[in-house]
């Protein structure tokens, strides 16, 4: 997916101060057909993007204004148009708002934890010996490379009430955790899910920010220290401002990813999350595919996309800002 790589959105080079004579040359070029070449080159990519992302999106939006049920699906009938009915239904349903609030709170908490711990790990990586740093990178690469599904299954077994090793260990050190259910209390269950998401999210942030930290000039920190700045002051006034744009990007990306949380609660609750464990993504899926309310599910998805678009705008603006600095 394009947002996964910060360099993806192609953007024409910003016009710098025009060199003498450039004006004439540009004028001549744009008058010929060669000015279309960049667009022609971008066309295949745009076409692919549209076919893979745009078209399904359009169908989903169309679907959200219809009432598609199982009968229409089986018989291949065009579902009846219902206007804004699905949206009214979703937006007036308190269940939807509970789920939306839960998803938002989860996103805020998990992103804050991931970025803070990720930054801390990145700072640590600058301090340790190179061999340790390499070991840390290798370990984090393994975590990063592990498919979500596999990681979730492993966590599910770790916290299993009857066979889980976590309960076993906690009981060994004398706590009363025999046959303890980690999902009876939603708060505990969400703590498990959040740990899983944060654990899997740290490597990307730590490695990216570690790369960013190499850009912080050592002399600057040294100079500040000589001038009597405390480590905290040096961090706040030198490191953070330099890292700021990178932090904004990894934070927005994490927010986008975590807002669409699906696999972890879905798999850890065995494909049938109870209402306490629904997120916007699982709620849309359950509505569409478990209760065959395809249109209602689409409406929920469209609303989610709109909510996410707000975060996306922030991200894309930041990308442009960085482009301008370059």
């Amino acid at each position: 997916m394009s947002v996964a790589s910060p360099s993806a959105p192609a953007r024409p080079t910003p016009p710098g101060p025009p060199a003498p004579g450039a004006h004439v040359r540009r004028k001549r070029r744009s008058s010929t057909s060669s000015g279309l070449v960049p667009y022609a080159l971008a066309l295949p990519a745009l076409f692919l993007l549209f076919a893979l992302l745009g078209y399904p999106m359009v169908r989903m939006v169309v679907l959200s204004f219809q009432n598609m049920r199982l009968r229409e699906l089986f018989a291949g009938l065009t579902p009846p148009w219902v206007g804004l009915d699905n949206y009214t239904k979703v937006l007036t349903d308190s269940v939807f708002w509970t789920v939306a609030l839960r998803t938002t709170v989860f996103t805020v908490v998990s992103v804050a934890l991931t970025v803070t711990i990720g930054l801390a790990v990145a700072m640590l990586m600058r301090r340790v010996a190179p061999s340790i740093r390499i070991a840390m990178i290798v370990v984090m690469m393994f975590v990063w490379a592990m498919p979500q599904l596999v990681a979730t299954q492993i966590f599910r077994w770790l916290v299993d009430a009857d066979f889980g090793v976590i309960n076993y260990l906690l009981t060994l050190i004398g706590l009363d955790y025999e046959s303890h259910s980690w999902f009876a209390e939603p708060l505990e269950g969400w703590a498990v899910i959040t740990s899983l998401v944060v654990w899997a999210g740290i490597p990307f942030i730590a490695i990216t920010l570690n790369a960013g930290l190499t850009q912080v000039p050592k002399e600057l920190i040294e100079a500040a220290t000589v001038d009597g700045a405390s480590p905290w002051q040096a961090f706040r006034n030198i490191t953070l401002p330099i890292l700021k744009q990178l932090i904004v990007i990894v934070t927005t990306l994490s927010a986008i990813w975590n807002f669409g949380l699906f696999t972890q609660p879905w798999v850890i609750r065995d494909g049938r999350p109870s209402s306490d464990y629904q997120t916007l993504a699982t709620y849309a899926y359950s509505t569409a595919f478990k209760t065959n309310n395809y249109s209602l599910g689409s409406a929920i998805s469209v609303i989610t996309v709109i909510l996410l678009a707000a975060v996306m705008v922030f991200y894309i603006r930041q990308m442009f800002k960085i482009g301008d600095v370059d």
Binding site: M1, L53, L70, E72, L73, D160, G260, K290, Y294, S301
Partner: protein
């Protein structure tokens, strides 16, 4: 975002497939007795994984007889329960559909109602006069028959004979015996992990069995509307009894019954409520869990497990039906295969494997099989979920499971939980 798109893509694929789906009219009833030359044709059949792990020989002999009779080959695809309905929906929306499909009896009404299956001539199938109602009722719609019962399974009381003997207990004959046994076992076996009666909270067919044990119902039809009746005092009384029995369970109250035989195999549970075959899976497991055909290994409780019909609690009659997909390429071949697959000969082989047959006329044979007595007995006092076309959605939306878990964990009173579930049932069934 990525998932939104995956979701959209899946929806689109389904829609596209729906748009290109064939519109061949499937009027008429496929004749199971017609002589069809099936040479060079392949019949596609979807069966659930139980047939592969439990009674592959039944499938094999039916295929052999079918090929001998028609010349057509059979290709069986085994499906996993879990999320199989989403797969069924997407497939039925397309044009490449299997000829024969198996569905659970609680899932069937929704598909019959939405026109997913061919009408059948009931009289052409053996024992159709005495089909178990729990299986055949989901096949009936508007006075016609749309699928054929395949097998049934009744829930029974499974108990650890070793623990019973040590505690000086007899096999329970009344419900009061069950409660006393659970209490005594718990007292004699201290330890936080021990369950007198292992009862996972989200085991919905257990909860529902207790719910209707006092004579109540789950939902009823009033005119053309369905009304949830779980908050009926009789049902609340049944669920209060259920809550009491779950208090003798030390297991995870939010779990479902999926791994209960593995838990029972640890030897730390006195009793549990399960399907007849779970008594065998508690005693031996395939060495390689990913290969049902691998050698069996005995568990700690091997030879120490027995079953009786659960006293005073009706048994949920689970099971499966097979039908011919409305868009099946070979409906007549499919009818012949189903006819062979569900005839007395096939059913007798199924009984050998511990499943219950599809007809009452065969139940006595099942009762005569050692280890099957309890199931056959339990099948005689059975109940079934409401015959509402949308009942499967109530199950998919976890309405019953959430109600039970909130009662078992003490988060809601029986009255509040049933009231909430009734509201949800009313919304879903009448939407």
């Amino acid at each position: 975002m990525k998932r939104k798109i995956a979701l959209a893509a899946a929806l689109t694929a389904a829609l596209l497939a729906a748009a290109c789906g064939n519109d061949s009219s499937n009027s008429g009833t496929p004749d199971a007795n017609a002589s069809v030359d099936g040479k060079g044709k392949t019949l596609k059949v979807w069966l659930m994984v139980d047939a592969q792990s439990g009674w592959k020989n039944v499938v094999d002999q039916a295929n052999e007889r079918f090929t001998a009779a028609t010349g057509a080959q059979v290709q069986i695809d085994y499906q996993q329960w879990g999320d199989h309905l989403a797969k069924v929906d997407a497939t039925l929306a397309g044009s490449e559909v299997p000829d024969v499909m198996e569905l659970g009896n609680t899932e069937m009404p929704k598909y019959v109602f939405n026109g997913a299956f061919h009408e059948l001539d009931k009289a052409q199938y053996e024992n159709s006069a005495t089909w178990l109602t729990g299986l055949s009722a989901p096949c009936e719609f508007e006075g016609k028959t749309w699928c054929v019962p395949y097998y049934a399974g009744a829930r029974v009381l499974i108990y650890n004979t070793d623990l019973f003997t040590k505690a000086g207990l007899q096999p329970p004959k009344t419900y009061a015996d069950v409660v006393t046994a659970a209490k005594t076992l718990k007292e004699k076996n201290p330890g936080a992990k021990f369950s007198g009666f292992y009862a996972p909270g989200a085991h919905q067919y257990m909860g529902l069995a207790w719910a209707v044990s006092g004579g109540g119902t789950i939902a009823k039809q009033e005119g053309d509307k369905w009304v949830g009746t779980l908050s009926d005092p009789k049902v609340q009384e049944g669920l209060t009894k259920w809550k009491e029995i779950t208090s003798y369970s030390s297991g995870d109250k939010t779990k479902n019954e999926q791994d209960q035989s593995a838990i029972f195999a640890q030897g730390t549970s006195g009793m549990m409520y399960g399907a007849g075959w779970e008594a065998s899976s508690a005693q031996e497991q395939p060495k390689d869990p990913n290969d049902p055909a691998s050698a069996k290994v005995k568990t700690k409780v091997a030879g120490k497990v027995a079953t009786v019909a659960m006293p005073e609690v009706p048994s949920f009659l689970g099971g499966s039906n097979v039908g011919i997909a409305a868009k099946a390429p070979n409906p007549e071949l499919a009818a012949q295969w189903i006819k062979i697959f569900t005839d007395t000969k096939s059913q007798e082989l199924l009984i050998e494997k511990g499943a219950l047959p599809n007809a009452t006329s065969l139940l006595d044979k099942a009762a005569a099989k050692e280890g099957n007595e309890a199931s056959a007995q339990a099948a005689k006092n059975s109940f079934f979920v409401p015959m509402a076309p949308k009942w499967a959605e109530v199950e998919s939306a976890n309405v019953i499971q959430q109600m039970l878990v909130s009662i078992a964990t003490g988060k809601a009173t029986v009255a509040d939980a049933t009231k909430k579930a009734d509201d949800q049932i009313n919304t879903i069934l009448n939407s």
